[in-house]
Symmetry: C2
Subunit: 555 residues, 2 copies
């Protein structure tokens, strides 16, 4: 499939087959650039895991090829793996000012700031590195300063949208760069890689500005204190809250570490504007009339230790939620968090507050393109080949069908998954193999040392708890010299179920009595027998299957 222009190899390492964890490798001969480097938050079954990053074995094997990391925007599902990946593969990080500002703050926490080279760009800036030229193109998203990337390679131009929507009335007036996308489309785009997150949504995504108007309306009619929770990276949402507070004569109090940090970064870089005196210290709260303050906070997902949850539980030192207060959750109810969020809402109602959230009022809007916007992207860029990115498998399939609807031939669309190797030349695009890929689970200080077996054990422990049978035998005679003790964790306690555990103990003694002395001298055999017996016993008596751990000491 080689032709005179050569072959571009594209390898998704994350984000194709899941939401989050976005990372894609573009390789031409001996040069690689990496687009995004994200994490994802763990699935329910990943017990005790803090977050998940992509398996980057392929990058490590080819680290001398890597020319740079090109980051489309500052969300953690596009940046969050950098502190781990840069340790293994150090290369310059390219991005716009706010994107880099947020990454710098994160790397500082990890003590890695000094070792990293940052290259700041503005939209329409072009970066040349190796055989690649990368142009950053303005798009709208739920964080400011988001960009698509137009990557010119010897094989042709490919466009990676990053996360985007097409907002006709963005808060900062910076509309998507129709001109440059269209110019690339006119001169010929070899392949488009486009965001599939919202492909199930018909029509257009609402403009961020409409949310601002709705929030202002709520502020105008609120007579008590207002607490507004949103994502700490949503600078435009914050700007709209600030503007509404100026007009409604409320002071803003910031709460939550990431909220305070991000406001500082965004104001310093000029992405967020507040008149002097608008933002006041928490200490001033008690001096302000009830209808003269707004608390802007994190904790919209009902995180157990967040300030908002503590307020809801009436357990916050400085802020007491009272009858007549209004709490606005200006954020998405992320699947998996509903129970925590609704529990928090119920507690806020107990305090006498009214809670306004996306199900009952238009106070949040997605940052991703709906079907009609996805069609605009396809029609502007007119790619020869199309690869849907950022989505679970069904999103990729549905985006493929949508692209066929606007005229991309089915045979020119590749539904790829993490680890697939795509080879794209001027006249063909195909999957030609795979590389190692997958998810690395990170917990505590460890990086990826939590394996499948450990998780399986945790799930088993979580379901039915554990029973230990502890005893000691004389190594020679097989005589029982200690125990058996029956010890439980996460299983019926002795105080509560004395007969059950006594029954188990008696059964272990009986099992030992029935073993011949030869078997008794084999510690492993004794443990196997005890395990088998107890498993049957608990299954029969109470239909449960705890982890059974016989501990036999031969002395």
């Amino acid at each position: 499939m080689e032709d005179e222009k050569g072959v571009l190899r594209v390898i998704p390492l994350g984000g194709l087959g899941e939401i989050g964890l976005n990372m894609m490798v573009f390789e031409y001969e001996d040069s690689i650039i990496v687009v995004d480097c994200g994490l994802m938050f763990p699935e329910d079954y990943m017990l005790g895991i803090d977050f998940v990053i992509p398996d980057i074995s392929y990058l490590i094997e080819n680290k001398e090829k890597v020319k740079g990391f090109f980051i489309t925007h500052g969300h953690e599902d596009h940046t969050g793996a950098l502190p781990f990946v840069l340790k293994e593969v150090n290369a310059p990080v390219y991005g716009t000012a706010l994107t880099l500002g947020l990454i710098e703050a994160k790397l500082r926490e990890h003590g890695m700031l000094a070792d990293t080279v940052f290259e700041m760009v503005r939209p329409r800036d072009k970066v040349a590195t190796g055989p690649f030229e990368v142009e950053f193109l303005r798009v709208s998203h739920s964080i400011v300063d988001g960009c698509s990337l137009a990557i010119t390679t010897p094989a042709g131009v490919v466009i990676h949208t990053g996360d985007f929507k097409i907002d006709q009335t963005p808060v900062d007036g910076e509309v998507i760069d129709y001109a440059r996308f269209s110019e690339y489309g006119e001169s010929g785009v070899l392949a488009l890689f486009s965001d599939s997150t919202n492909v199930e949504k018909a029509g257009y995504t609402l403009s961020e500005k409409e949310i601002g108007a709705n929030i202002e309306e709520i502020l105008r009619s609120a007579t008590g204190r207002v607490i507004l929770a949103t994502f700490a990276s949503h600078i435009h949402r914050m700007q709209q809250v600030f503007d509404a507070c100026v007009r409604c004569k409320r002071k803003v109090i910031l709460n939550g570490r990431s909220m305070v940090n991000n406001v500082e970064i965004a104001m310093r870089l000029g992405y967020l504007n507040a008149p002097d005196g608008l933002i006041v210290d928490m200490k001033q709260l008690k001096n302000l009339g009830k209808d003269k303050s707004l608390l802007l906070t994190t904790g919209s997902q009902g995180e157990p230790m967040s300030a908002l949850t503590r307020m809801a539980m009436n357990n916050h030192k400085q802020i007491k939620v009272e009858e007549g207060d209004t709490v606005i959750l200006s954020s998405k109810l992320i699947p998996g968090n509903e129970k925590a969020i609704t529990a928090m809402m119920n507690h806020l109602y107990r305090r006498g507050a009214t809670v306004i959230y996306e199900k009952v009022s238009e106070i949040h809007v997605s940052g991703h393109a709906s079907q009609e916007e996805l069609k605009i992207m396809l029609n502007m860029t007119k790619p020869k080949f199309f690869v849907p990115v950022h989505g679970e498998y069904r999103h990729l399939v549905l985006h493929s069908r949508l692209a066929q609807g606007v005229g991309i031939p089915a045979e020119n669309i590749i539904v790829a998954e993490d680890g697939d190797v795509l080879e794209i030349s001027s006249d063909s695009a195909e999957k030609t193999g795979t590389v190692d890929s997958g998810r690395v689970l990170v917990d505590g200080k460890g990086l990826g040392d939590t394996g499948d077996m450990v998780l399986k054990d945790r799930r088993h422990l979580a379901r039915d708890g554990m029973v230990i049978a502890l005893l000691s035998l004389n190594e020679k005679t097989g005589e029982l010299i200690y125990g058996p003790d029956i010890i439980t964790r996460g299983f019926a306690f002795k105080d509560e179920s004395p007969e059950l555990l006594d029954g188990a103990r008696t059964l272990v003694v009986k099992t030992l009595d029935e073993l011949n002395s030869e078997t008794k001298s084999e510690q492993l055999e004794v443990e196997k027998e005890i395990k088998r017996t107890l498993r049957k016993f608990f299954n029969r008596t109470i239909e449960r299957r705890p982890v059974i751990l016989p501990l036999v000491i031969e002395i």
Copy 2:
């Protein structure tokens, strides 16, 4: 607050402060009737729990007063605790034919059929027991044969709606009994207890019939096989699927134990009609053209062992999902199940199927009244006092506000929770105390023997796993005669982290060396020291907090 008509005591034991677990006690002098007796499925944090039932201590203490259980409809959140509660408090069970049919099937599984007295009623039937007269009133819901209860007591008439919606075009033509509700309203209702589940939804709930039309439209355009998953209790949904299949000339194959059982019960009782030959055996599937069959199945919630999940994973013996097949999830995505459901959907797309579900098409509708229907109920019955039921705390508060909007004075509304005692007389209604209440967690064959400590342990085990330090000391000398062995479950394994576990082992030896012989002779003290040391060690080295279990045998 006594007057000549006496006082009705009303005690919610479940369903006020949560969705599910519905149960309410009505007590007048020495007589009690119980309305509904439901379970709920466990919350995420209740690891290993199968389901949850209400604490019925109050009923047990007063069991000689209990005249009967009045069941509004056959859903498990209104019936599922009966097998447990009837063992403690045996009294007749009143309900309509389908309601009792489903309860009988469940009691048969528990071997309790012979001991239970059933009293079948039809809508508008009146049951007199003790000082109560209970009339069953037709309503619409997502199961057929649902009723509200109008309970005439010496203190006045109270109405408990059960679960309801007001469907103007119900599938069986049986519209809500406007006449009787209104007659009660005219002659005077002392108190209304009304379903709050959907109080956050504006407007009206869609008619079940519209769903039937949408399903038929999908069948007409489907060229491959169709698999439709819904709740096994949703008889009207099944009827509409049957009717659509007759018109589209598809045979129906049933799948899933509860689906097969409930179809049998509903057809026997005349609630479900299928022409001869419509339902065929699974074996005939292979002889039918692809566009000539519909598989009606359970498993809409992505349950791991369900047939639909197995089909999605390409792991079902008889059915292979193929390119061009259509899977319809005609059901709610129950919060907490989204991840399992979307994972199943992704696998179905991998097989080449198209999945239609409530987010993308109107193929499911709620069985609960939205705001306008709730107002109709309030305006028809014109109660003096109002108590919102069936809902989390915020639903109850919002329903209270809605009732104020149609003219019920705030002081006549009681937002009560499980265990509150309400005393209602002709001129007052108030909370006068509480009784024991709460949730009993059921797993395996056990009833409520899983306590808070056990759950706490399971959560701890689930998060960070467990480390056991096993050793034996000479009782007299304190000399180490076995171990220490470091054993882990759900924590870094020896093979993977040899240095870490060796470090822990060395540390235990060092800790023992540093103890004086007096301390060493105290097994508990030794264990405490080891625990403290290891906890610090793992926290410092890898920032994790496994359950640490030192096991010291003194011989």
